[in-house]
């Protein structure tokens, strides 16, 4: 029985292109142009899922992006293996395509028989706030029992467990006018706005083809033409204009500042033969001069007992399935409505040969001409009737209706047998994007809806999304928004409705399950309970009951919930509040948001010019900011500890070679360069001679250490500044900030040269011996080229800025060479070093060697609250300079008083035990918890050169505690350590002068 419910003719489907999709393994036939929803209905499959909380059988409510219930897991490319499945696709918007494999969600063991449905029987206890009230105690049960069980039972679909196999792309675009929505208003707006060929127009619509509601409007005419012809002409005109980009299958989901509208285009999902590189989706980030919102409106469901039974859908959706997809949702359809538009749906269904009955909540005299029109074609219409129940469980079998007397009393029940229901509780303009743009909503009592009020950005709404429902008015409004006043003639639309919140019933309201929010399973009863318990603001009611908080953002439910709360509180709707709409309008895949930022392009991975060499030597790398730095160079069979020990020894005994290229470098040039340096750094620069280096300390305004580094004066007006690796960008920004905003009078310019110069550090007694044969134009004699000096010349025939500096305490050089030459120079030095016992070493060894000497690392010893004096570097703070950044703060009482943490060394009781970095220090563990913590360990290593563990710490009044024994936390308790000076190796510091 294939496509039993397919109508013999009509629809915008291509019957020459049959296709097959699978639903829970079953093959279903359909045609190109179908959605999953229309294929399911064509094959009589109304039951398509189980609900979120109660596991009730659910069907298809809508034909569009407001669908709350028919959520399917779709495997888009089963033939390509895993990684192409995602959950929660709305069946109503997924274009059918040969080979799609779809599955229903939220059931076990099967869709037809779901054990979770016991929740529905237990529903009297699963009321609003049930979780909050029930699972409070005992506290520890929450993590281990309650939450896992609740999570497993509730939820929507299953998150994919394998990486997404698709490609997603990103595109920034600019235009003068962005039109969102290609229905009658959007098409008219785009036509008008693009008339001027200089105006760039983008028209985006979430559907597969432009036209919106006109695609299922068989009866209307616009300017004397059938609606579909008008659409075809409009699209042809737009296609012919070079200044127009039409984007079908593109949902504008986010409206941000400065008319930045973000949209997702579904590029590949509908293509049978999508090439492998084609993105599945493309994220469009549009910056528009003006935005025209033509987003249409959503129909409201009616709220009555069991209104969620499969087969009960929105009235307009019935019309869409009949007219656009040539599918009969049922053979006998009862329409239930409180307004006129459902009559059009009923007439169209009748015309398609479907047995139709209509129940209208409105009294006979409140109905318009639509009543006579429907009766004239022989349809039974019951006016002044309410719906009190629906029969059937996995498929509706009947609608129970009853007359409402003049006194409001509900009369005798009558069951109208049916296999589908089309319901309409009126219309809600889709103001989501307008609200996201921060525009102010205004409540229109006549329309019973919020409509756009005051705009905040260059934006205008047109058509149904601002409450216009008559076709001629909608089209004219589109032209107006696009900048043209143009009279429009169109056939009259059936509009107007009587607001209905919860339909009157004769049943006990406490026992009625009338759903308001279909996706989060919230009933009218839940909302009444929330109000009874004191929740009055809609924002609170929402959070307590979760109504409107599902992934559909309450497109179908918000107005019913709001109206119900207002009615219960006897307030006007605006007094109860409205909802703020947030992006995304419809759920967006993570892939679209991430775009190309995955794998190798997740982040720029910065590698030095020497990276490949280190890699070839089997180095282990660590991440430092965005850089990869060689961490240590293990030889066969060595672990990190052994490798680092070997490297540490070798540097002090022979020589080590180290890649210091990532150090930040800034060239400071200009006649005022020295003055600029004086103001940025704490120490004095005026007297530093060209050719000499100085260690500089930089503070923030608050007096705390910001960065440090060696600075070389290359010439009277030129400094080569180095910064920490992680601080490079921050320091340059800090300097530029002051230069541009505080001291624009200084003639000095800053240029980042971090990447111009690769830096090869050679450290150890044999460093000079290694480089000597390759250096030209520089006298390496210690008398001519002492420690803390800089020379320019050549190494291996290429220019070098040769620094004689040491971060290890050894004789050392930092060889700056233009980066492209670095690998070649390094290899030459490496080759020679082999004869002298040279080793390559990494950042870990660098850390240990500097700690042996007590040299600090900004960001390790410091944490943004450490002053120069705290580090024992008070001598680097000039007493005579009139000013520098942070100078005033250094005089703050809390910076000069006692009780500050000061840098000290720590020697643990057990020389083999390495203290934990970050471990807390206490005077004695013999005190109540919380103990008074007097310091913390900042650096801690095994020092092969000292033959024991060493540590640095920040300790309250530490310099006066030298010699004291204190307690340091360990994972299991405490150990003891003796406070010492923070220098562990060769305190005299003469080796670097060799």
């Amino acid at each position: 029985m294939s496509q039993t419910y397919r109508l013999p003719q009509g629809g915008r489907i291509d019957r020459s292109q049959p296709l097959t999709v699978r639903f829970n393994g079953k093959a279903l036939q359909g045609y190109r142009g179908d959605t999953l929803a229309s294929i399911l209905l064509a094959n009589g499959q109304h039951l398509v899922g189980r609900s979120f909380k109660y596991h009730r059988p659910r069907g298809i409510l809508s034909h569009g992006s407001d669908e709350p219930s028919a959520l399917l897991s779709v495997n888009w490319r089963a033939e390509r293996g895993p990684g192409f499945t995602d959950p929660n696709n709305r069946a109503s918007v997924v274009e059918a395509r040969e080979g799609l494999e779809t599955r229903s969600q939220n059931h076990w063991p099967s869709l037809e028989f779901d054990l979770g449905a016991v929740n529905d029987l237990l529903s009297p206890i699963f009321v609003a706030g049930f979780y909050y009230k029930t699972f409070m105690w005992p506290r520890k049960f929450w993590d281990s029992v309650y939450e896992p069980v609740i999570r497993a039972a509730a939820g929507l679909g299953k998150a994919p467990e394998v990486p997404d196999g698709d490609r997603y792309s990103n595109r920034h675009a600019h235009c003068d006018v962005l039109v969102v929505g290609a229905g009658p208003a959007g098409l008219a707006a785009a036509l008008a706005a693009s008339k001027d060929g200089a105006a760039r127009v983008i028209l985006a619509d979430e559907g597969r083809e432009p036209g919106g509601a006109l695609l299922h409007d068989l009866g209307s005419t616009i300017d004397g033409k059938p609606a579909s012809d008008w659409v075809a002409e409009a699209v042809a005109t737009l296609d012919a204009r070079e200044n127009v980009v039409v984007l079908p299958r593109t949902t504008a989901f986010g409206y941000y500042n400065h008319n930045h509208v973000v949209m997702v285009e579904r590029v590949a999902d509908h293509r049978v033969d999508a090439a492998a590189g084609l993105p599945r989706e493309r994220l469009w980030q549009v910056r528009a001069g003006r935005v025209i919102l033509a987003t249409g409106s959503h129909e409201r469901p009616l709220v009555f007992a069991n209104n969620d039974r499969p087969g009960i859908m929105l009235a307009e959706s019935v019309r869409v399935f009949v007219n656009r997809y040539a599918v009969a949702p049922g053979r006998r359809i009862v329409f239930a409505t409180s307004g006129a538009s459902a009559y059009t749906a009923a007439l169209d269904a009748r015309r398609a040969g479907i047995d139709v009955t209509l129940v209208d909540l409105r009294l006979e005299e409140d109905c318009g001409p639509e009543l006579g029109e429907l009766r004239a074609v022989g349809v039974e219409v019951l006016t002044g009737h309410t719906v009190v129940d629906a029969t059937g469980r996995k498929r509706v079998t009947g609608l129970v209706v009853a007359p409402i007397g003049r006194d409001g009393r509900v009369g005798a029940r009558r069951t109208l047998p049916c296999d589908a229901v089309g319901m309409s509780g009126g219309w809600t303009p889709a103001v989501h994007l307008f609200s996201q743009s921060r525009g102010k909503l205004r409540f229109d009592v006549e329309l019973d809806a919020f409509v756009p009020g005051q705009s905040v950005q260059a934006e205008t709404s047109a058509g149904a999304c601002r409450g216009l429902y008559d076709l001629a008015a909608v089209v004219a409004d589109g032209f107006r928004a696009g900048g043209a006043e143009q009279p429009v003639e169109a056939s009259a639309s059936r509009t107007g409705f009587q607001p209905a919140r919860v339909l009157p019933t004769d049943a006990d309201p406490a026992k009625v399950r009338a759903f308001i929010d279909f996706q989060n399973d919230v009933t009218a009863k839940d909302i009444k309970l929330a109000v009874r318990e004191g929740f009055e603001s809609i924002e609170h009611v929402k959070r307590y009951t979760t109504t409107g908080m599902a992934t559909d953002q309450g497109k179908t439910s918000n107005m019913n919930a709001l109206g119900l709360v207002a009615g219960l509180l006897d307030k006007e709707i605006p007094a109860v509040g409205t909802t703020t709409f947030r992006p995304p309008y419809t759920p967006v895949t993570f892939g679209a948001l991430i775009g190309p930022s995955r794998d190798a392009l997740f982040e720029p991975v910065r590698k030095t010019a020497l990276h490949q060499w280190a890699e070839s030597q089997g180095a282990a790398f660590e991440n430092v900011a965005l850089w990869k730095r060689a961490w240590y160079f293990p030889k066969a069979g060595e672990d990190m500890h052994r490798a680092v020990s070997r490297e540490c020894k070798a540097v002090r005994e022979t020589v080590g070679i180290f890649d210091a290229s990532t150090l930040g470098k800034i060239e400071v040039v200009g006649p005022d360069a020295a003055e600029f340096m004086n103001r940025i750094y704490t120490n004095a620069w005026t007297k530093l001679e060209p050719g000499r280096c100085r260690y500089g300390l930089m503070l923030r305004e608050d007096g705390y250490v910001m960065d440090d580094g060696v600075v070389a004066r290359l010439a009277h007006d030129r400094f080569h500044v180095t910064t920490t690796t992680g601080g490079a960008a921050r320091v340059l920004q800090h300097m530029e900030d002051y230069l541009q905003t505080e001291w624009p009078e200084l003639d000095v310019f800053l240029t980042s040269i971090t990447e111009q110069w690769a830096v090869i550090a050679l450290q150890g007694p044999k460093a000079r011996e290694v480089i000597a044969p390759f250096v030209s134009d520089i006298d390496l004699d210690p008398a001519a080229f002492p420690h803390m000096a800089v020379r320019t010349g050549y190494i291996c025939g290429v220019p070098t800025r040769l620094f004689r500096v040491s971060f290890t305490g050894e004789l050392g050089y930092e060889i700056n060479v233009p980066a492209d030459y670095a690998e070649s120079v390094w290899k030459t030095l490496w080759e020679r070093g082999q004869t002298l016992g040279m080793v390559p070493y990494g950042t870990e060894t660098m850390h240990v060697l500097r700690a042996e000497k007590g040299y600090i690392i900004v960001g390790q010893e410091t944490d943004g609250t450490v002053s120069p004096d705290d580090l024992g570097l008070g001598g680097l703070v000039s007493k005579v300079k009139p000013d520098f950044i942070g100078k005033r703060s250094l005089a703050r009482p809390d910076l000069v008083g006692s009780g500050r943490k000061q840098l000290v060394g720590l020697l643990g009781k057990d020389p083999a035990e390495v203290l934990d970095e970050g471990a807390q220090i206490v005077a004695t563990p013999d005190q109540p918890v919380p103990m008074t913590m007097i310091g913390h360990v900042t650096s801690s290593y095994h020092s092969p050169n000292c033959g024991r563990s060493i540590a640095m710490a920040m300790l309250v009044d530490g310099r006066s505690r030298i010699g004291e024994t204190l307690y340091v936390t360990t994972p299991s308790g405490f150990t003891t350590a003796t406070v010492c000076e923070p220098v562990f190796f060769e305190p005299k510091g003469e080796r670097f002068n060799a």
């Binding site: 792309s169 600019h174 040039v669 233009p818």
Partner: protein, 192 residues
């Protein structure tokens, strides 16, 4: 005297070969001399041109004369690009012409990597990660600016209707090159 065998050789960060994706060609540019030149706007106006580099340009415009190109990236900042072999000569010539005037000339030949991207959809490929309006009216031939591409800072210059030059820092070159190649996949094949 240093033996010739010990002379250091240059190693480019990107492979020299072009990547072709549909009509889009992404070609790493070879080594060139580059300088960041800084000076006060009035000085630049007064000089007009130094060593064949035009300084008197509107901000965000470039000028090419022979093998020398200057890109004015801000009121007081120019990127000068010249032949690889002439680094020292260019520096000397520029410095000589500035004489006693205030300026800063810093060699950034090795800091930057240049990539050329050409083809009908080149602007769209750049727009995969660059948020600027790259339509001809908004970003005409001869325009140059500092901007971003994905998560990297770049200098972007339009050298022809369908020809662009991207400059980025050395360690970002692999990312930028990869990003452009990835973005260009959009234009390889569209079927169905």
């Amino acid at each position: 005297m240093l033996e010739t065998g010990r002379l250091a050789r240059r190693a480019a960060v990107l492979p020299a070969a072009s990547v072709t994706r549909g009509a889009v060609v992404i070609r790493p540019l070879g080594a060139q001399s580059r300088f960041s030149l800084r000076t006060r706007p009035a000085t630049a106006e007064a000089l007009g041109t130094v060593a064949g580099f035009t300084l008197a340009l509107p901000i965000n415009r470039m000028s090419t004369a022979g093998e020398r190109t200057s890109l004015r990236l801000g009121p007081d900042e120019w990127l000068l690009i010249g032949p690889e072999a002439e680094t020292d000569e260019l520096a000397e010539a520029v410095s000589a012409e500035f004489g006693e005037r205030v300026f800063s000339l810093v060699d950034v030949s090795h800091r930057n990597v240049g990539i050329e991207i050409t083809g009908r959809n080149a602007a769209h490929v750049l727009n995969a990660g660059c948020p600027l309006d790259l339509a001809e009216a908004a970003f005409p031939v001869g325009m140059a600016t500092r901007t971003v591409l994905g998560k990297a800072e770049i200098v972007l210059a339009r050298t022809g209707v369908d020809a662009w030059r991207v400059e980025c820092w050395r360690s970002f070159a692999t990312y930028v090159h990869g990003f452009l190649g990835e973005g260009a996949l959009d234009f390889v094949a569209v079927t169905g």
